[in-house]
């Protein structure tokens, strides 16, 4: 090695040694997160394979779509993270920043398919938080600090703008509260999700149960004696899961198809445009109805799949439009002239520039998907009566609406608040991300 590179590498190690504890904590926590992810992913994959083998006749493809594929994704991500964690400890500096994004992605994927997400989310947050400590200077290459400081400044400015808008803060708080409540469901509910006490039908809020030793009905009961308060929280799990997973999957599919269509243009583009045109010819709810009927079974999973199928064209069109505009810009030509492959250009150059409207749209879509899912459950396309789902609770409640308003009111308010919060956040994000409005 030449003297220059020896000097550079000693500088590196010196610097890392100088960073000390904070950096070490972050590296070790990432390693732990990735190992946990690996473990969970492996367990889920194996478990699914076992179950799938036992149910070869009964539509194993549904299982695979809903559970196997995400768990394989988790497995892959965890493996990459594991390698990165090891590299970090060995002082390979490139590892730190890329692992940040992967950690977040991992936590997100886990959150949508199960409760283990809490633990992973906590693990993923640590490196993010560490990044914000004023003395921590994440290290990648010698001038990394100068490059990231303006980015962190932008991020802090964005957070400042967010904090200045009370409505957006309210929206974020509401959503976070709901998610936390949903995740804590097993601990804060008083009854099970489908538990009924027939003697307790149509009781007003605050009424005690007619059965000895059972807890009070804080928000009353519905017409078959199910506790509204508890069912509301169990339903939160269900509804939030549907909303988040539909948006994420539709986003992924739609972005991919839209980016390819927009970038390559020509016949592929025409084809995708015609297909999305046909999808857009149907109002969302109606098409969902038809798809659920086509899938045969009326359950939460079929609603989810139907919603995903209905929602991806929105993102495809959005991304396609953006990619078409970006494709003509000079930086794409510059990247191509230095030999970047199409995939690389798409992934690293074009898509990051198209993210802003996607973020806004997908945030608001969380609310829209929820409304559609609840609507579907309301008219009977969802799980059979008795399951905990907000729309379904309203459908059941309307039969005895004249004497018992609470069975309808509370679930409706829950839907309203969630959709409201997601729209608030989406609106706020749109105002914040608008470059013309940023520097007032």
């Amino acid at each position: 090695m030449s003297s220059e590179s020896i000097q550079a590498s000693t500088e590196l190690t010196d610097d890392v040694a100088g960073r000390g504890t904070q950096f070490q904590i972050s590296a070790v926590s990432q390693l732990m997160v990735s190992m946990m992810g690996f473990m969970f992913g492996g367990v889920i994959v194996l478990g699914n394979l076992v179950i799938a083998m036992g149910q070869v006749e009964a539509e194993p493809w549904l299982f695979m779509a809903a559970w196997l594929v995400p768990s394989i994704i988790i497995l892959i991500l965890s493996y990459i993270l594991l390698r990165i964690g090891i590299a970090l400890l060995d002082r390979e500096m490139w590892a730190f920043s890329s692992s940040l994004y992967l950690n977040l992605l991992l936590a997100l994927v886990f959150l949508t398919i199960g409760n283990a997400g809490i633990l992973l989310a906590v693990g993923a947050i640590v490196p993010v938080v560490v990044l914000f400590f004023p003395d921590v200077k994440p290290y990648w290459y010698p001038s990394f600090h100068e490059d990231t400081v303006p980015r962190i400044k932008e991020l802090r400015h964005a957070l400042y703008l967010i904090s200045k808008s009370p409505l957006v803060v309210a929206g974020i708080l509401i959503l976070t509260c709901f998610v936390i409540i949903a995740l804590l469901a097993p601990f804060i509910t008083t009854y099970g999700p489908e538990q009924r006490i027939w003697a307790d039908s149509n009781l007003p809020p605050g009424a005690p149960s007619s059965v000895e030793g059972m807890p009070d009905h804080i928000w009353g009961t519905d017409d078959s004696g199910g506790d509204i308060y508890s069912r509301l929280i169990w339903a939160a799990q269900v509804d939030l899961k549907i909303s988040l997973s539909v948006v994420i999957v539709a986003l992924a599919i739609g972005t991919f198809i839209g980016a390819v269509a927009g970038y390559y243009g020509g016949k592929i583009d025409e084809l995708v445009m015609r297909i999305t045109d046909v999808f857009f010819a149907f109002p969302g709810l109606i098409l969902c109805m038809a798809i659920v009927m086509a899938l045969g079974e009326k359950s939460l999973d079929t609603i989810s799949i139907a919603l995903m199928v209905v929602w991806w064209p929105t993102y495809a069109r959005l991304v396609r439009g953006q990619v078409l505009a970006e494709r003509e810009k000079l930086y794409v030509e510059a990247a191509r002239s230095i030999g970047a492959s199409d995939g690389r250009i798409l992934l690293f150059h074009i898509i990051p520039n198209t993210i802003q409207p996607l973020i806004v749209q997908s945030t608001m879509d969380v609310g829209s998907v929820l409304l559609t899912a609840a609507g579907l459950a309301f008219i009977g396309f969802g799980p059979p009566a008795g399951a905990a789902e907000w729309g379904l609770m309203i459908a059941i409640g309307q039969l005895y609406f004249s004497m018992n308003q609470w069975a309808v009111f509370f679930p409706g308010m829950a839907i309203l608040l969630t959709a409201l919060a997601s729209n608030l956040v989406g609106d706020g994000l749109r105002d914040i991300l608008d470059p013309k409005l940023r520097r007032r």
């Binding site: 400015h157 940023r438 520097r439 007032r440």
Partner: protein
């Protein structure tokens, strides 16, 4: 400067922009004077406040900007009596400004791609100003006379011809005291005036351009249309805010030629805002140089190019490449344009000035007549 000659006088104009990063002190006591009939160039680097000054004159500064203080005196001359009334534009009620904008003082903007309204035809947009500001009663009568005369040119029976001749006499009598026209006639007259103005700006095929939309025209034609919109009501002052910057060189030359020709035809005083010294040399007979929100020098064009007094102007002019240049490296003014949120104290140019002394750091220099006909704002002017 004798007041009778002036048509516009700006004194102590301060405009600020309240942004997230801080308060941008964009204009810090700008001084400007425009003589009647002059074509004044307002030059300076990007960001020195030229456009802000132009918009401040018409009070088009939008939030987060705010005109803080100052005087902008417009010497309004009445059309018929020739009497001159000074009006402080900053003291006017916003509704009264509406009578100034487009009618007495007009502005031609920079980018012909974004400035015309894309959903209206060119003719409609030009005629709009006419309908708004002008009393078209006389024009309507003239239009009717013109129509009658045109019909006389065709084959008609003798009876009809005498009827038409009578009508023409009747209308000619009305010319001195024309009646209030109805809306349809007004619109037709306005369109006529618009077409005349398009001819004035040498627009090719004006009749078809009237019916076209902005995106159907080329950049140069759109700029002519914008100029027509500004000129149509015969303003006393025409401000061209970087009107040629967005055009390519050949078109730029055409528009500059147009401006030169129009100077004699329309009798307005023109302010040409630009960062291009070449444009100034071509079109202006007076120049004001701005730097970081203040006026630093103001004199006749020839005088400025021959002997600039302010160090900044001198530096600018030496940096302009000349035809017979044999230099290998261009001299620069050292340093960079200051951040206007935290501008330098005293004279805003002092950190970059080779002739800076103690007083320059403390006191802001006032614009004074250093030589006859040559104003400068400097503690140590070169001469």
């Amino acid at each position: 400067m004798a007041t009778e000659e002036l048509v516009l006088k700006i004194a102590g104009l301060k405009t600020n922009f309240y942004t997230y990063e801080g308060v941008v002190l964009a204009l810090d006591g700008v001084e400007l004077f425009l003589r009647r009939g002059d074509t004044m160039g307002l030059v300076g680097e990007t960001g020195c406040g030229k456009s802000v000054t132009a918009r401040s004159i018409l009070r088009l500064v939008e939030p987060p900007g705010k005109i803080e203080e100052g005087e902008i005196i417009f010497f309004d001359s009445d059309d018929r009596s020739g009497e001159i009334t000074p009006i402080d534009l900053l003291q006017l009620h916003p509704e009264e400004m509406l009578h100034i904008r487009g009618k007495k003082i007009s502005i031609v903007f920079q980018d012909p791609a974004t400035f015309p309204n894309p959903v209206f035809r060119i003719g409609t947009q030009i005629a709009e100003s006419v309908m708004l500001h002008q009393d078209l009663s006389r024009e309507v009568v003239e239009m009717k006379i013109g129509e009658m005369r045109n019909s006389l040119a065709t084959e008609l029976p003798e009876e009809r011809r005498s009827q038409i001749a009578d009508k023409i006499r009747y209308y000619e009598q009305q010319l001195d005291n024309p009646p209030e026209p109805d809306d349809k006639d007004k619109k037709k007259a306005a369109d006529m005036v618009a077409k005349e103005t398009l001819k004035l700006v040498r627009m090719p095929s004006p009749s078809s351009v009237m019916m076209q939309y902005p995106h159907e025209l080329s950049g140069g034609m759109r700029q002519r249309a914008l100029i027509a919109m500004a000129l149509v009501c015969n303003p006393d002052i025409l401000i061209c805010d970087e009107a040629t910057t967005a055009l390519d060189v050949t078109v730029q030359a055409q528009v500059l030629n147009l401006l030169n020709e129009l100077k004699k035809e329309i009798g307005a005083s023109i302010i040409v805002i630009t960062h291009d010294m070449g444009v100034v040399a071509e079109t202006c007979n007076w120049v004001s140089v701005m730097y970081a929100g203040t006026t630093v020098e103001s004199c006749a064009t020839d005088e400025l190019f021959a002997s600039p007094i302010h160090p900044y102007t001198a530096g600018l002019l030496t940096a302009v490449p000349k035809l017979h240049d044999t230099r290998e490296r261009f001299p620069q003014i050292r340093g960079t344009v200051p951040n206007l949120i935290t501008p330098p104290s005293g004279c805003r140019f002092h950190p970059r000035c080779d002739y800076c002394t103690e007083i320059c750091k403390k006191e802001k220099p006032e614009l004074k007549e250093h030589r006859p006909g040559h104003w400068v704002g400097c503690h140590n002017p070169l001469s």
